[in-house]
């Protein structure tokens, strides 16, 4: 299945890219998705994750067509 991946702010700068397209097996979790995309970079501890623009846990399984985002703690306001 095809997954759209997005990175924001300092995490995007660190990875050197804003987006990825990735093919994953149905039922892959967000944690597994990260490990497959970045085998040599452990997910930074405070990273927040969202699926289809809703906050999600690392254990959440993803589905075909999902948009998964990884980003650091938010600092608006």
């Amino acid at each position: 299945m095809s997954i759209q991946v997005k990175y924001f702010a300092s995490l995007r700068d660190r990875l050197g890219r804003a987006e990825d397209r990735f093919s994953a097996a149905e039922g892959t979790t967000i944690a597994e998705l990260w490990a497959a995309l970045w085998p040599e970079i452990p997910l930074p501890p405070n990273t927040l994750t969202a699926v289809n623009m809703e906050y999600a846990s690392l254990q959440q399984p993803i589905s075909d067509g999902d948009e998964v985002a990884f980003f650091p703690p938010v600092t608006g306001g």
Partner: protein, 145 residues
Amino acid sequence: MRVELRETPFEPLAELGRYQTDQHQLLGQYGATAIFIGTMRDYNQQTMVSQMTLEHYPGMTERYLRRIAETASREWSLLDALVIHRVGELQPNDPIVLVAVWSAHRAAAFAACRWMMEELKSKAPFWKREDTVAGWRWIEHNTPG
């Protein structure tokens, strides 16, 4: 209720004035208006800041801002709410955020306005990058509320 992102500088008091003139149906109903304005400072973490960039997650940011305003409106029976948040490049003294709520009594207005700011700061996907004399840096976390 209105929730909005702005890519250019805005004047919170002028926005409020314009918004209130459209509230004819609320005249005489609200006894309390609580307003918060967040403004860019020129000094943060012991360093002069010359410019700030506010990044956001298009789509998700608007969704969370709207949800925050809707949840507060329901929870505190607000009569109305207005949220405006800047994105893009800001100069010192530029307004960052405006949160205004209208309600019958002050307890609800104060509580809702404060809750909305705390929610916004912890949930809405915005990221601040500051330009200083020592280069730029991402702000890692907000000051506690």
